[in-house]
């Protein structure tokens, strides 16, 4: 195994984790500021995808394939959460009284 290959392998994992964490921070900023409730749902959906990607990178980094199962379960959970939030938004529109879901 050449040293150049080893260098590429090790630094690619570091760069990938850095980019995913930065993207997660950006999505979290949108989750905090994002003016309407569906904006926050989109940000939360993206955060779930980024967590799945992070688990994939961590499965490569650690060598434990159990993190792949974690990624699959997280993807399933994120899909169910997104569907539930979308149903909540559509149903709360039809109601007459809206609960306070904002902090500002």
């Amino acid at each position: 195994m050449t040293s150049l290959t080893h260098l590429i392998s090790s630094w690619s994992v570091v760069i990938a984790i850095t980019l995913i964490v930065v993207a997660m921070v950006l999505a979290f900023i949108r989750l905090v500021i994002g003016p309407s409730l569906p904006d926050r749902i989109v940000a939360l959906d993206l955060i779930t995808y980024l967590a799945v990607a992070f688990m994939g990178v961590f499965a490569v980094l650690s060598g434990h394939s159990a993190f792949l199962d974690v990624a699959i379960a997280l993807a399933l959970l994120g899909f169910l959460a997104t569907v539930a939030f979308a149903r909540y938004v559509e149903r709360s529109r039809a109601r007459t009284s809206i609960s306070e879901d904002r902090d500002d």
């Binding site: 900023i29 003016p35 994939g56 792949l68 939030f85």
Partner: protein, 146 residues
Amino acid sequence: MIDLLGEQPVTDVLTALLLLAGAAFTFIAGLGVLRLPDIMIRMHASTKAGTLGTGLILLAVAVSYGSLSEASRAIAAIIFLLITAPVAAHMIGRAAYRSGVPLWDRTVIDEFKDRRPLPPPEDGTGVHLPDPSAAKTPDPVPKSPS
């Protein structure tokens, strides 16, 4: 730092390239969700770039392990993402459009503009507050029985 597969530099380089491409796409997705002006345009970044980046990273996992068990699990995860991501994005988009979230002011066409249930709120929050004028507009969504 790590030793991915030791004796297979081609697999290592392919894993590294897939990881970098996937991480770049996920970064673009996060940047787009933060920076784009409208929820529909933000969903372009979140759904397409996010799904592609996550799928590339899971493909990197499949290439990295190389055994049938882990590769089949990674491929199954990719297929699951490709099936569920459009469904989730469609549900969010429909809920956002029907709940009266304001579109971008440079939006070219909005074909259901006269049938949207609520006008854009004046405070710019986009939250569907109860409005007495909304009772007169036609309602494309049937009321829930509860």
